[in-house]
């Protein structure tokens, strides 16, 4: 299971998004590279992009990203050599752990970042990847890098 690293500014961006959409779930794309040449097993997130939660129903506890939106973001991202490597979403008033629903709808290979957010604060965050054989989520190490270390070592593609 790949550890995931991301600059703290991106985590701040995701948290801001989650606070803005509270009490509804926020969702978005993780764009990056993996493997990193210096650390082949890790995945680096280089930017995040907000998505629209188009779930037809209770957006407090469900999110849905339209396939057209994924397709468009993927196209743009791949043309810059940085594919969509996963998704983030928030759990208003719930822990930063994926739910059964999350697991039932997850795809392998992607990194799933879950942020817990409440009315007064946003706190915990977790990263998960689907174990394709077992069809269950495994938690992966999320390394948040302070800004000064986050010069991306990415080759523009």
């Amino acid at each position: 299971m790949r550890p995931v690293s991301l600059p703290s500014s991106l985590l701040a961006q995701m948290r801001a998004h989650a606070r803005e959409t509270y009490p509804d779930e926020a969702c978005g794309f993780l764009i990056g590279v993996g493997p990193d040449p210096t650390e082949p097993e890790a995945r680096r997130i280089l930017s995040v992009e907000r998505a629209e939660n188009t779930f037809d129903g209770e957006r407090r506890r469900r999110f849905l990203i339209r396939p057209e939106e994924l397709r468009d973001v993927e196209r743009r991202a791949e043309s810059t050599g940085r594919p969509v490597v996963g998704f983030y979403h928030s759990h208003p008033d719930h822990p930063a752990r994926p739910s059964q629903f999350d697991q039932d709808h997850a795809w392998p290979w992607y990194t799933y970042v879950v942020l817990s957010v409440t009315a007064s604060a946003s706190s915990a965050v977790g990263a998960f990847e689907l174990d394709a054989d077992a069809a269950v989520f495994r938690e992966v190490e999320l390394r948040v890098e302070p800004e000064s270390l986050s010069a991306p070592s990415v080759v523009e593609g």
């Binding site: 779930e25 969702c27 998505a51 779930f55 209770e58 407090r60 506890r61 469900r62 999110f63 849905l64 990203i65 339209r66 396939p67 057209e68 994924l70 397709r71 993927e74 594919p83 969509v84 998704f87 979403h89 759990h91 208003p92 008033d93 719930h94 994926p98 739910s99 059964q100 629903f101 999350d102 709808h105 997850a106 795809w107 392998p108 290979w109 992607y110 799933y112 394709a132 069809a135």
Partner: protein, 493 residues
């Protein structure tokens, strides 16, 4: 055979030999994807449900067009076409927001009344649960629950609600205990045979828990008395055994803004749900019209496995307790289907019908109606409409749909029912909208209309014939007959 390029989504490339694109042969989009999935069981699992249908959260594009707007998997492909598979990304939180019951009850004074030592002992197992505690037990004591029907469903529900400490239990039933009841109605004893059910029930409940106030309503519920009977209660438990009363109870509960806990049984199957028109569908949203009376025998005619209402009644009691306590996820918006023989539970999502005559913003029915007439208790000797209009049996329709000139299939049910299940290739035109939407139907083509049990589609067939359509038939027995005789994977509801 046309050759198409299939773009494999990143997460699945590892299971397609690492390729981002695969060239495959196939005549239709469905055939192409199936041959991709056959290469690897993980691909199969992510693309298809166990029943072999493309998963809801997989969107397929043919050259940038969503195949749901084409002919879905039957869309034909040409040489050089590009098929893209894009996952829809979905997820969510583990549990829904709590729902508090609006307790209609006595004022604050009762709130502060303490429990006796005996009651603290009696309810100790409740008090030990953080989700109940003294506060929750007080809510139970203040709650008033009406059980319509003290038979197969009402009997076990009443027993357990009394054991739980519900303060007031109303019972509506005018029958006497019959020997044949004892196979399942565990509230009664052999000595009670011949005695009015309410008297026997009251004695039994009071023996179990003298703290419960049992209010007998020894009446036949009707449009004249239903609102008055239901009014003082917080929750209605619907344990009726006939359709006119079911609709009556639902309508009265909706008009009075009270939740009703629905349960029904038939032979080896049961259904449970909670209808709260403020937050979800009511009974009519799911079943806008009753089935023809001759199609639904009562337990007396069809038989019922004795243990079945025990389970269903207990599920109703469970939902009632949860509503009172404001704990857990209720069955609002969910229809639980139970098969005792297979011992399976299935759940169907059910939605409020935006055009429900009773509980939607377009509601036209503001009071109670004549329920026996609504349920079509027929005049003696009358032939059902279904047999008077041209009809087609499910097996024959299936053969016609598989032929080279299939009929144009029209589903005349409501959108909520369509969402539960519908026949592939059908077009949804709810019966109420037919008159304004007839232009969507070509008079020359072969039309077949269907609904859930065949009543509405028979009426719609009559309507179209009167409007000059030459070739219209109704599916005899509706989707239920189709599910029974042609395709058991179609859920019956």
């Amino acid at each position: 055979m046309p050759k198409t390029v299939v773009k494999v989504p990143t997460p699945l490339r590892a299971f397609a030999g690492g390729a981002a694109e695969v060239a495959l042969e196939g005549a239709t989009v469905g055939a192409v994807i199936r041959s991709l999935a056959e290469a690897n069981p993980t691909l199969q699992r992510h693309l298809y449900t166990p029943e072999g249908r493309l998963r809801n959260f997989v969107t397929v594009y043919l050259n940038d067009q969503d195949i749901r707007f084409l002919e879905r998997e039957a869309t034909p492909v040409k040489d050089g076409d590009v098929v893209s598979i894009v996952p829809a990304v979905a997820g969510g939180s583990p549990a829904p927001p709590r729902t508090e019951l609006r307790i209609v009850g006595k004022g604050p004074a009762k709130n502060r009344e303490t429990f006796s030592r005996d009651d603290l002992r009696r309810y100790s197992r409740h008090l030990l649960l953080p989700e109940v505690g003294v506060a929750g037990q007080r809510k139970l004591r203040e709650a008033k629950v009406l059980l319509v029907g003290a038979g197969g469903l009402g009997a076990p529900a009443a027993l357990y609600l009394a054991a739980a400490g519900v303060g007031e239990i109303g019972l509506v039933d005018f029958d006497a205990v019959d020997l044949s009841n004892l196979q399942r109605q565990v509230l009664y004893t052999t000595q009670d045979v011949g005695r009015p059910k309410l008297a026997a029930a009251k004695a039994r409940i009071e023996a179990l828990n003298p703290g419960v106030k049992v209010v007998p309503h020894e009446v036949r519920l009707s449009s004249e008395n239903a609102l008055e009977v239901l009014k003082p209660y917080d929750v209605v438990v619907d344990g009726t055994d006939n359709f006119p009363t079911r609709y009556l109870v639902n309508d009265a509960a909706v008009l009075l803004h009270k939740p009703s806990v629905y349960g029904s049984i038939y032979r080896f199957e049961g259904q449970v749900s909670v209808f709260d028109a403020e937050r979800g569908p009511c009974y009519r949203c799911i079943y806008p019209e009753p089935p023809p009376p001759d199609l639904v025998p009562s337990c007396a005619e069809a038989g019922v496995l004795g243990v079945l209402p025990g389970l269903i009644g207990l599920l109703q009691a469970t939902e009632t307790v949860k509503l009172i306590l404001g704990q857990g996820e209720s069955l609002v918006g969910r229809l639980l289907l139970y098969d005792a023989l297979a011992l399976t539970f299935r759940e169907l999502k059910v939605r409020k019908n935006p055009h429900c005559v009773l509980c939607s913003s377009h509601a036209t029915q503001k009071g109670l109606i004549d329920y026996p007439a609504f349920c079509g208790v027929p005049a003696p000797g009358a032939t059902p409409l279904e047999e008077k209009v041209p009809h087609v049996e499910p097996e024959a329709l299936r053969a016609e749909l598989d032929s080279t000139e299939p009929p144009f299939l029209v589903d005349v049910r409501e959108p909520g029912e369509w969402a539960i299940a519908h026949l592939p290739g059908a077009h949804l035109i709810p019966k109420g909208e037919l008159p304004e939407r007839v232009d969507e139907l070509t008079r020359a083509s072969k039309l077949v209309l269907y609904c859930r049990s065949g009543v509405r589609s028979a009426e719609a067939t009559r309507l179209l014939l009167d409007l000059g359509f030459a070739n219209v038939r109704t599916l005899h027995g509706g989707l239920n007959a189709w599910a029974e005789r042609v395709d058991p994977s179609v859920p019956r509801y």
